[in-house]
């Protein structure tokens, strides 16, 4: 893996520090458990909502190959989110199932970042949104391999293999569009300009996140922020794209404050379970 600074290389390598196991008593505290669940939702809801957004493109890709690729990635996202929701259900220890968590929450209870709920305006937006997420996701899963929580370590090792394929796909397309025709360049730059304001939220932490970072369960992504923007910038220079100048970044999703798009996503995703409660395939 190529890296731009020693700090980042250390932070995302697999063998730098010995893993500290979570104290078995840790989850006996109700507060710790609640924080862990909230933290996991913040991670998992990104996969769910991005998976749903990509799923909307099934049969609507610009041509066959990207259509198949985007739905493949969507499927990986759903696979990831299922593992996280199953873990949450297990932690809750009541009758909650992964489906309840996916389909029966209200908008404010979803903790995904605003980036992943942004619409499929055109193929350029789809690729830029994906690239911004993929770069983050691969770094995140690399760092999560050091988690004090055994289940999360397993999920990180599993997920990172897929995440690198995703990053390769979105990165390649970004280069092709940015360095392509005048039309593709204009449109993908427009997408970059519009979506850039949502990148900072990826590094925003909530109270639950901070508690999990302190416990060694969650990686401190803030330490990798510089590396993230270096990686993105590096690809932008090969893609002949420009980093927009913005004065402020949007955030709120991680606290449950979503953009106007979220309600429509949930309506589409939940109507079946809400109309026919407990319906099964």
């Amino acid at each position: 893996m190529e890296t731009n600074s020693n700090l980042s290389a250390k932070a995302i390598s697999n063998s730098a520090v010995p893993i500290k196991e979570l104290n078995p008593q840790f989850l006996e505290s109700t507060e710790n458990k609640k924080h862990l669940i909230d933290y996991l939702l913040g991670v998992a809801d990104n996969y769910l909502i991005l998976g749903q957004r990509l799923g909307e493109l099934c049969g609507h890709g610009p041509n066959l190959e990207p259509d198949i690729a985007l739905t493949n990635i969507s499927l990986d996202m759903f696979g990831q989110v299922r593992s996280f929701y199953q873990y949450i259900a297990q932690l809750k220890g009541d009758k909650t199932t992964e489906d309840d968590i996916a389909f029966l929450r209200k908008e404010r209870e979803y903790k995904n970042v605003l980036l992943v709920e942004q619409p499929n305006t055109d193929f350029g937006y789809v690729i830029v949104r994906q690239f911004f997420f993929d770069v983050y996701n691969r770094m995140f899963l690399g760092a999560l391999q050091q988690s004090a929580d055994q289940t999360l370590r397993a999920l990180a090792f599993k997920g990172i293999k897929e995440a690198s394929y995703h990053e390769r796909f979105s990165g390649d397309w970004l280069k092709r569009l940015g360095d392509g025709t005048e039309e593709s360049k204009t449109r993908v730059q427009q997408a970059v300009n519009d979506l850039w304001i949502y990148t900072d939220e990826l590094f925003h932490t909530t109270e639950a996140d901070d508690a999990m970072i302190a416990a060694g369960v969650a990686p401190d992504m803030l330490q990798l922020k510089e590396y993230y923007y270096d990686k993105v910038g590096e690809l932008f220079s090969t893609a002949a794209l420009e980093i927009p100048e913005v004065e402020y970044f949007q955030k709120g999703g991680k606290e449950g404050m979503h953009s106007e798009h979220m309600g429509y996503i949930l309506a589409d995703m939940q109507y079946m379970q809400r109309t026919y409660p407990d319906s099964k395939w």
């Binding site: 690729a69 499927l75 990986d76 990831q80 999920l155 599993k158 390769r168």
Partner: protein, 184 residues
């Protein structure tokens, strides 16, 4: 197990060692039932050759099977779980199928017999990791056409009809075919 393709000797020995550890002490009748169950998306590959069975515990008529998913979103996993239950039920067993995540599945666990079955079915078997990267990232021509055997092949798409495959085309005989991506 005979190693037919020199270039893949490492994956062959690791997959056969693993198979020995998992299936070595199992009664043959149980192994035979396991081998009846195929990957629903690649019907020539049974679950033993696919390398997704991690542990089998037999207690009288009750069988616990620990299964590892190939890709986390692979829809075949639920079907494989159901198919295992059905196959064993037909022989009077009850099964408890558990999904396990660690260690994560790798294409190294596909057995040599599985690799041959893939090739005969028209899916190029995974190359080892470095060669795989050279193919998928650097456009090197290393994947052999399943139709004519030529290495003059090109990547058409990194994603194919299922999560585990990429699309290729042979530039000699023009045959389009699937390549089973290396996952490691």
């Amino acid at each position: 197990m005979v190693n037919n393709s020199g270039s893949n000797s490492s994956s062959d020995s690791s997959s056969s060692r693993m198979a020995e550890k998992i299936f070595g002490s199992l009664p043959e009748s149980i192994l035979a039932i396991l081998e009846e169950v195929a990957d629903p998306e690649i019907p020539v590959l049974n679950v033993v050759d696919l390398g997704v069975i991690r542990e089998v515990i037999v207690e009288g008529k009750e069988i616990t099977i620990k299964l590892t998913p190939t890709y986390s979103g692979c829809p075949a996993m639920d079907v494989i779980g159901d198919d295992l239950e059905r196959a064993f039920a037909a022989h009077g067993y009850t099964t408890n199928v558990q999904l396990i995540m660690s260690p994560p599945w790798t294409t190294d666990w596909i057995t040599e017999r599985g690799r041959k079955a893939l090739e005969e079915y028209g899916i190029a078997a995974p190359l080892e990791e470095t060669a795989d990267k050279d193919v998928l990232l650097n456009d090197k021509k290393l994947v052999k056409c399943t139709n004519c055997g030529s290495q003059n092949t090109k990547l058409v798409s990194q994603f194919g009809s299922t999560a585990c495959k990429a699309m290729f085309q042979c530039e000699d005989c023009l045959e389009p075919f699937d390549y089973f991506k290396c996952l490691k």
